[in-house]
């Protein structure tokens, strides 16, 4: 089989994929493993939660730690796994064009009979596969651990939630890829993804409390992914479509800018 830009990029980051996969699986397993003891002490937990300010509970999404979907939604899917996926995707997205260009490798590739758009699209496809594998690791871990820790959630809802966090990662990875392609600067690409993630996270959490910040949620991938509560409600096509469309638009904008600039200077 002929080696392509897509296959090469994915193979070059296989080690990173395995590393992130292990990390994501470990975090997922660790948090969900606490579920049985959490449920057993749910009376005490609920009493404790009631003593906390209502605003904090809403902000952190700790409304119902006594149900499996509430607990997993607040821990596995609320912060740590999305954070890992955002970081993994943004690092890879920033590497894909800007990092390769700063390291000096992109010039040689673009001296071959490939188009810039082609390289960008193929590496975006590799990024998508990368993030999808990490999403599948979350899903697979919960599926395997589910019976042992008695989660009691159907597979399709676990899949919907895993897909949602993977899409959060993809949005931020695509942002890093697009900014990197437009500027050729890895630091800018990572910075843009970080700003988007922070604003997005605040838009999802804080904006629940502060009305003036409510508009932020429309710029938040976390909002589109987690607000429909996929663990409780399964797939919601409209926000999922938004999360799929945003990366495509970002990459299209990145390609337009990438095609207009000088490379490797």
């Amino acid at each position: 089989m002929r080696r392509s830009v897509f296959g090469r990029f994915l193979r070059d980051h296989l080690r990173a994929l395995v590393g992130w996969g292990v990390g994501v699986a470990a975090v997922t397993a660790l948090y969900s493993a606490f579920w049985p003891s959490m449920r057993d002490s749910s009376g005490a937990m609920d009493a404790y939660l009631e003593s906390l300010p209502q605003g904090l509970l809403e902000t952190m999404g700790w409304n119902s730690l006594s149900t499996a979907e509430g607990y997993l939604g607040a821990t596995v899917f609320g912060l740590l796994v999305p954070a890992l996926l955002v970081i993994a995707a943004a690092v890879l997205g920033a590497r894909a064009i800007a990092g390769d260009e700063e390291d000096g490798g992109l010039e040689l590739l673009l001296a071959h009979p490939v188009s810039r758009t082609g390289v960008l699209v193929q590496r975006f496809a590799a990024l998508t596969v990368f993030v999808a594998v990490l999403g599948a690791v979350v899903f697979g871990t919960l599926l395997l651990l589910g019976p042992a820790i008695d989660i009691g959630l159907p597979a399709d809802r676990l899949l919907a939630a895993s897909t949602a966090v993977a899409l959060i990662g993809l949005v931020h990875g695509a942002a890093a890829l697009a900014v990197g392609a437009a500027t050729g600067r890895r630091a800018l690409a990572l910075g843009a993804a970080a700003v988007l993630a922070v604003v997005g996270y605040l838009g999802h959490t804080l904006a629940r409390q502060v009305e003036e910040l409510e508009w932020l949620r429309f710029a938040s991938a976390f909002h589109y992914a987690l607000e429909p509560d996929p663990l409780a409600n399964g797939f919601d096509p409209a926000p999922t479509a938004v999360l799929l469309a945003v990366p495509v638009v970002l990459v299209a904008l990145g390609a337009a800018a990438f095609n207009r600039r000088d490379v490797g200077v």
């Binding site: 080696r3 070059d12 390291d103 490798g105 040689l108 009979p113 207009r260 000088d262 200077v265």
Partner: protein
């Protein structure tokens, strides 16, 4: 030199009656090329034409605009003004088609992959539709390159070899080589020059840059000098060589008179010290050799003509006197 009639027998007019030498289009044609990086202007209206089948040296000090010009040819850098044609195509609109037919060696080749040179070269070959492993192995052997080592652990010289293999391996119509001999030891430089000569023998074209003339003088048919983003000169290397001065030292069996050599054509800086004559000869040493032959010659030394001095001093002077405009 083959006899002048040889081509009558060995180069018959091809079927269909096409003329072999009917003024082929230039392989690289650059007119009025300008390039601005923001407020900084790197190229000021460069004109350059490289003919099919020639080896063209592109010379100039570092920062003169050589790499910028080369990157414009491959559409890595977009020109600000002027016209550029490579193999008859515009890099802005037909970049992929041009790059398919060109082999390129970057001036500053960086290889960061953990994979082996063999793996990287096979991948780059696949981007061009596949290059046989045997061809890669053959080039690697010529350049004494170990294909089984990870590329990022290679020394500068070995990385340069990987760059040369990927530029030559698909037998492109046009080779664009940015500082190809940097990092190569003298033995490999010679091997490289042989590879360039083979490319020319096959009728393919080589465009190579260097900041020193000596790296291209043995192989180039013509050379251009670029300085501060402007073309200063284009020279036929044979003509330059003919004009070049060489130092000569002759020792005779008996002392000779300075007057015998003083008025010979092309001889200057004459020093006669008993039986030894030292001088500088411009152009052909014919007159000196014939005069020397009247005596018994014990030793005859002639240093390589220093084209570098000639080339650069000549054009620096001209430029500074405002003649080159």
């Amino acid at each position: 030199m083959p006899p002048f009639w040889e081509h009558l027998f060995w180069n018959p007019v091809p079927e269909g009656g096409a003329l072999v030498h009917a003024a082929p289009d230039p392989v690289i044609d650059i007119r009025g090329l300008t390039k601005d990086y923001g407020a900084h202007r790197a190229l000021f209206g460069l004109d350059l034409s490289v003919r099919a089948g020639e080896v063209f040296g592109f010379l100039g000090p570092n920062g003169a605009g050589k790499s910028t010009t080369i990157r414009v040819l491959l559409d890595l850098v977009r020109r600000s003004g002027g016209e550029v044609r490579v193999l008859g195509l515009d890099p802005r609109t037909d970049g992929v088609a041009i790059r398919r037919r060109v082999g390129y060696l970057p001036g500053d080749l960086v290889l960061t992959s953990r994979r082996t040179a063999r793996d990287l070269l096979a991948y780059l070959g696949d981007l061009r539709g596949g290059v046989p492993a045997a061809r890669i192995a053959e080039l690697a052997e010529r350049l004494d390159l170990d294909l089984s080592r990870p590329v990022r652990s290679l020394s500068k010289g070995n990385r340069q070899k990987v760059g040369l293999v990927q530029a030559f391996m698909h037998r492109p119509e046009l080779l664009v080589l940015d500082e190809p001999t940097s990092g190569l030891d003298p033995l490999l430089q010679r091997e490289f020059l042989e590879m360039v000569q083979e490319v020319r023998a096959e009728g393919r074209t080589v465009f190579m840059s260097s900041h020193v003339l000596s790296e291209v003088q043995d192989v180039a048919d013509r050379a251009a000098v670029v300085r501060r983003g402007r073309l200063v000169a284009v020279e036929d290397m044979d003509a330059l060589r003919r004009r070049a001065a060489r130092r000569v030292r002759v020792r005779f069996a008996a002392p000779v008179a300075a007057a015998e050599f003083a008025s010979l054509a092309g001889v200057r800086d004459l020093h006669v010290d008993g039986d030894t004559v030292r001088c500088v000869v411009e152009g052909s040493p014919d007159a000196l050799v014939k005069q020397a032959a009247r005596h018994t010659v014990l030793e005859f030394d002639s240093a390589e003509p220093d084209l570098e001095d000639l080339f650069f001093t000549y054009y620096t002077d001209r430029e500074e006197s405002g003649d080159a405009a």
